[in-house]
């Protein structure tokens, strides 16, 4: 899975047809995907931010879907995402005589 984009918090850019791009109501990232559309009648979409992973359905109340109305105490920024503590912390790799840990480190770097 790709890691979160922790770049600067930018406002909405233009969409493909001049419409304002959809931005995340929580962290205002433009990296938003439509993950599903209602299988019956297409009456809603579920969207998800690939930076902070906030997900919402388009038919939910405005405070859950609109950046300006999103509650202040639940908002996130690129910095708060990046500086969030790990739970549980990633443990150190075990060093083994066959160098398996070093290889695993290389593969993941």
């Amino acid at each position: 899975m790709t890691g979160p984009d922790t770049g600067p918090d930018t406002g909405p850019g233009p969409g493909p047809e001049g419409e304002p791009a959809v931005i995340c109501p929580r962290c205002r990232s433009e990296h938003v995907e439509t993950v599903t559309v209602a299988p019956r009648g297409g009456v809603w979409e579920v969207r998800q931010c690939t930076r902070c992973w906030y997900a919402w359905r388009t038919t939910e109340p405005a405070a859950r879907t609109t950046p300006e109305l999103f509650p202040e105490e639940f908002r996130l920024t690129g910095q708060s995402i990046e500086s969030a503590p790990e739970l549980p912390a990633v443990p150190p790799l075990l060093e083994r005589p066959d160098g398996a840990a070093a290889r695993a480190r290389e593969e993941r770097s």
């Binding site: 599903t36 992973w53 997900a55 639940f74 996130l76 790990e86 739970l87 150190p92 480190r105």
Partner: protein, 475 residues
């Protein structure tokens, strides 16, 4: 006859008037969660809910509040729905005595009826996911049996862990998972990550009701949840081998997700309205990649609303927390009579015990805080005499009112471990704990003036029966 699957249990609930089928259209938000929230406010006889027409979904059926009352908890154990709480806990404990009961391996699990693999995996195609509380970070799965094996000893059946952990849906085939540090899955994950390996995982949704109870029970590391399920069911638990990972899973589950916890990956997760009655989140947690979904045709999505207690999770975890604590305490202190650890998964625990000698009750209280469950819970431990029913809170308050002297009976323990979800912990995961000794001092502890208690008159028992009979006649 024990239930083989969730459908059998829902039929039993239906037969006893404990299931409401709702066919009118309901919106995914806010209707489903609000209805389950409301069911939790109906009290000890609240019904389970089954929504059969959710706006925008063609086939999704959603079951909520399935364990969410004492009546439903009783029926999960095949007891009469009116069984009093104390008797349900006592029966749970009695059945635990026959642990372990080996599981039964069954062929042809119904979840093999349909399959999605690899890039075709799409959680939204199978599960009618929806938001629970208003400020949850997304759509969660919070009542699935998550099964993992010990990477150092994968063939050890007992070290295989079945637990319930919150899962945040991240796109079509990923979840964020919260493997609490004091839980067995965190031990499995640590072991895999130290080797730089992914941890295979199987996630079974929509199970027969005893599986959810044992998955919520804080068992010892090498004890098998399936073998406990057999003891509680009074018959072996039916299990099957998961097709991709080979992990043992409940035979009758509605949906089975298989994949891995990706090694050494952490991503922002939450927040999520938790059983503490507070949101928790804003931490980077591990990520699961789903590689295969197997599911019954027209699967039921079983979900659980939780929030300000009491909600369904308190019924699910209540007796399942009391009984292992009782068993672990009795192993060393047979004088222990009963444990009530039903408040917020045992953040508060009340223990009744006989006192072998002066100071005994506080030794029992300290032991509560040092059980495996005590590592993350048991912040306030109240110890009462053997004749005080820990499930009868007015009796407990009487003991605190009259037996407890703060000068000598308060043991404060600074800097103890606690689950990070406890909003009062500071720093997160660290808390003071207290033992309140509300027992009558015994020799050589000779404090207070407790030698002349008032007791019920000997004839009270007979009169109680007579009055009850007369009341019935009047009604």
């Amino acid at each position: 006859m024990p239930y083989d699957d969730l459908r059998g249990y829902l039929e039993a609930l239906d037969k006893h008037g404990q299931l409401l089928r709702i066919g009118e259209p309901a919106d995914p938000e806010p209707d489903l969660a609000a209805a389950a929230n409301a069911a939790a406010r109906m009290g000890a006889e609240a019904p389970a809910l089954c929504f059969e027409n959710v706006t925008g979904y063609s086939a999704g059926r959603v079951a909520l509040n399935v364990h969410g009352s004492w009546a439903n908890h009783a029926l999960a154990l095949e007891l009469p729905p009116s069984t009093p709480v104390r008797e349900q806990v006592a029966e749970f404990s009695r059945r635990w005595e026959s642990f372990p009961v080996a599981p039964e391996r069954r062929a042809d699990p119904p979840f093999l009826q349909n399959t999605l693999e690899g890039e075709d995996v799409d959680l939204y195609r199978v599960l009618p996911l929806f938001r629970l509380n208003a400020h949850d970070g997304g759509f969660y799965v919070d009542k699935a049996a998550v099964v993992t094996q010990d990477p150092e000893d994968p063939e050890h059946f007992g070290k295989q862990n079945v637990g319930i952990y919150r899962l945040q849906c991240k796109g079509r085939r990923h979840f964020g998972i919260q493997p609490g540090s004091v839980h067995d899955i965190a031990r499995h994950l640590r072991s895999a990550e130290e080797r730089g390996e992914d941890l295979p995982v199987a996630i079974a949704l929509g199970n027969e009701p005893v599986i959810s109870l044992v998955a919520a029970a804080p068992m010892a590391y090498e004890e098998s949840e399936y073998e406990l399920a057999g003891a509680l069911r009074g018959a072996p638990a039916p299990i099957a081998r998961a097709p991709l990972t080979g992990i043992d899973v409940p035979w009758g589950c509605e949906v089975l997700l298989e994949g891995v916890v990706e090694s050494r990956v952490r991503e922002i997760e939450g927040p999520f309205g938790e059983f503490t009655g507070h949101y928790s989140g804003g931490r980077r947690m591990p990520v699961i990649r789903v590689d295969r979904i197997s599911y019954r045709t027209d699967p039921l999505f079983e979900h659980l609303y939780l929030g300000l207690p009491w909600t369904e999770i308190d019924y699910l975890m209540g007796p399942a927390t009391c009984v292992p604590l009782l068993q672990q305490l009795r192993a060393e202190f047979p004088e222990v009579v009963a444990v009530n650890a039903m408040y917020t998964h045992g953040l508060v625990a009340i223990v009744s015990t006989r006192s072998r000698l002066g100071g005994f009750a506080r030794a029992v209280g300290l032991r509560v805080a040092t059980t495996p469950h005590g590592l993350g819970y048991c912040k306030v431990v109240i110890v009462v005499d053997e004749n005080v029913d820990p499930f009868d809170l007015p009796q407990v308050m009487w003991a605190l009112s009259t037996k407890f002297n703060p000068t000598d009976d308060l043991l404060q323990l600074p800097g103890m471990s606690i689950l990070p979800l406890d909003p009062s912990s500071d720093p997160t995961g660290i808390s003071g704990k207290v033992v309140l000794d509300a027992t009558t001092p015994v020799a050589p502890d000779r404090r207070g003036r407790h030698t002349t208690p008032v007791r019920d008159l000997p004839e009270t028992g007979a009169w109680l029966e007579r009055l009850r009979a007369l009341t019935q006649e009047v009604r």
